[in-house]
């Protein structure tokens, strides 16, 4: 039940240029319609998102930017199925998330979403390989198959020689690459990244962004990245700015 939309051909081109060169028909993989999300702090109502419409096409690499409290992370959580909206509908990969129970959303996330967090959040008692294998524990794959896939994912992120290392034995950049390997190991269509370079120096940040670009280009992953860093956002194909719960 994927929808289609017409967008410009490539980064930097205006819509007109895209039309001139020939429009590219792309499937919308994420579609939010009139989405609202409200929180309560005591008796105070905080409207984080209001009447938000958003369409992201399959294979896109999008950056969500905005000041603190603008609703970027809330939007990312809604797209990833971690949270439910108070209003509107969210359709991801043709599936309406708004009607799903918590358990259904958990199962859906394990099959469709890869997560990259700012602080990596690896289990310190597991090796890099075991950390990457973690999402596969939820599948029916055999132990050897899980191991094989985790090894492949670590090879993709360039950590084949660090598989048996524990997180404390890795640098920040290496830890984040393990997180990315964990995000792709179950081959999800979408990767959501919340400030993936927030804790890294420029060199390591560039490595991570190169890796995300590669996942987008070579492996056709749709990437939605929240970032404060304009240099990181520059690497995305499309930047969106949120302010006071609205896309500007």
């Amino acid at each position: 039940m994927s929808e289609t939309s017409t967008t410009a051909g490539s980064k930097g081109e205006s819509r007109e240029e895209g039309v001139y060169r020939g429009t590219v028909e792309q499937k919308a993989i994420i579609r939010l319609v009139k989405v609202g999300r409200t929180y309560w702090r005591g008796k105070e109502k905080i409207e984080v998102l209001k009447d938000l419409d958003l369409t992201i096409n399959e294979g896109a690499f999008e950056a969500l930017m905005g000041p603190s409290g603008s609703g970027k992370s809330t939007l990312l959580n809604l797209i990833a199925g971690l949270d439910s909206p108070n209003a509107g509908t969210i359709t991801v990969g043709g599936v309406d998330l708004t009607g799903m129970s918590d358990a259904q959303r958990a199962k859906w996330r394990s099959n469709n979403i890869g997560f990259v967090f700012q602080t990596y959040n690896l289990l310190p008692v597991l090796t890099a390989l075991q950390n990457v294998e973690l999402p596969l524990l939820l599948t029916r794959l055999s132990s050897s198959e899980r191991r094989k896939r985790a090894q492949t994912a670590l090879r993709i992120v360039g950590l084949e020689d660090r598989m048996s290392h524990f997180p404390r034995q890795l640098s920040g950049g290496q830890e984040q690459r393990v997180t990315i390997a964990r995000a792709i190991v179950s081959d999800p269509k979408i990767i959501v990244a919340d400030e993936p370079t927030g804790d890294l120096d420029r060199e390591n940040a560039n490595d991570i962004l190169n890796l995300l670009e590669r996942l987008n280009n070579e492996f056709k992953k749709t990437i939605v990245m929240v970032t404060h860093d304009p240099a990181a956002a520059e690497r995305a194909h499309h930047q969106r700015h949120l302010d006071k719960g609205k896309l500007t």
Partner: protein
């Protein structure tokens, strides 16, 4: 099994805390095993009672005495093979007043006939019989006080005040656990002859050996029937029942020990619960991440409960091992030798060991219930917010 690895690894995450927790469980289990063994061993003293022996005492209480002539009446009851009598003397060793031991005045010839499990050499028996002030003592008591055969000892009377002089004629061993090895037996005549006329010829209790243990209850009724119409009535029961009635006096202590053993287990549960709760609090972000990538609340609860039960199992195994050695090879040997009358066989019973280990694992899991429920209920978004 694939999930168990995570639960087990989490146990070893904070090694110092885990070691302290397991040490806590270990000490709790050692205390539990010791207390439970006191209860079971005390009660098992009853099981070691001689089956063919009856005891007759004053109907009101065994603190009150019976006329000496009752012994002859009992001997005349059909089915009674032999009868003897004894008085509790309650002596203390003036050189070591704190050390308790049983001291009894007995009629030597009939005593040896009724208590066949007392093992003495013929020379020792002859020496005992031939000297009114002679006494025999258990080998454990002899070892404790360093008394030797032929040695003259002076004891301090508590029920019968004064200094009492004895000569050690023999050191007995026992062939059954129905008799302890730290008692002091001397001639009843020595005691009786020294009493004022109004206190003479009174016995504490009568012990009789019967032909057929199966008819014990019937013979006991026959004995009591003889004295029904007399000024002093009796109550006769098997040695087992007599010990049970004696144990009844300590019923409150046994109940208190039972409560203490339960309290020990509860303390152990709280130790585990506290450790697991701390771990869960510290790992909120990790559980949030796991929920995000698709683990369900039941998985998270399972990890916490598995970890909790594993801590209980580890502590249980170590506690059981050390507790077993402490009880069986430490205090057990000491109590059997020194308080054999109360604890003829002070060893960890298999049921106690199974209960201790099972209890440690089960209570470990129960201790994890609350932290597990809390971890399972974590709000994913809030947990992830803690990440960054």
């Amino acid at each position: 099994m694939k999930y168990a690895r995570i639960a087990v690894k989490n146990v070893l995450r904070n090694k110092f805390r885990t070691i302290m927790t397991i040490a806590g469980i270990t000490f709790a289990l050692i205390a539990f095993l010791a207390v439970r063994t006191v209860v079971t061993s005390w009660a098992s003293a009853v099981d070691h009672a001689a089956k063919d022996r009856l005891g007759t005492r004053h109907k009101v209480t065994f603190v009150m005495q019976l006329p000496r002539k009752y012994v002859d009446d009992i001997r005349a009851v059909p089915g009674v093979k032999a009868a003897t009598w004894a008085n509790w003397f309650g002596a203390k060793n003036p050189n070591n007043e704190q050390e308790f031991f049983a001291s009894m005045a007995v009629d030597v010839p009939s005593f040896l006939e009724v208590y066949k499990e007392i093992s003495l050499t013929p020379d020792e028996i002859a020496a005992w019989k031939g000297n009114k002030r002679a006494a025999v003592i258990g080998d454990v008591l002899a070892r404790k006080f360093g008394w030797k055969i032929g040695q003259k000892v002076t004891l301090m009377g508590t029920i019968f005040p004064g200094d009492w002089e004895f000569e050690i004629a023999g050191i007995y061993k026992t062939t059954a656990r129905s008799m302890d090895r730290s008692s002091f037996f001397f001639h009843w005549d020595y005691l009786n002859d020294s009493l004022r006329p109004e206190l003479k010829d009174r016995v504490g209790w009568v012990a009789s050996r019967v032909d057929d243990p199966e008819k014990g209850a019937q013979i006991a009724r026959s004995i009591d029937k003889i004295f029904d119409e007399r000024d002093i009535q009796t109550v006769t029961m098997s040695e087992k029942a007599m010990q049970q009635s004696f144990l009844g006096m300590f019923g409150t202590i046994l109940k208190a020990l039972n409560v203490v053993s339960v309290v020990i287990l509860l303390i152990m549960m709280l130790i585990i619960g506290n450790t697991i709760a701390m771990g869960v609090r510290e790992r909120t972000n990790e559980y949030g991440m796991m929920r995000a990538i698709g683990f369900r609340p039941a998985h998270i609860a399972g990890f916490v409960l598995g970890e909790s039960a594993f801590v209980g199992l580890l502590g249980g195994l170590i506690g059981l091992g050390l507790g077993f050695m402490f009880v069986n090879f430490g205090i057990g040997k000491f109590l059997e030798e020194n308080m054999g009358g109360f604890f003829p066989f002070f060893r960890v019973a298999p049921i106690t060991a199974a209960f201790a280990l099972g209890g440690a694992v089960l209570l470990g899991a129960v201790a994890g219930l609350l932290p597990a429920a809390r971890a399972a209920r974590l709000d994913v978004v809030q947990s992830i917010r803690k990440i960054g």
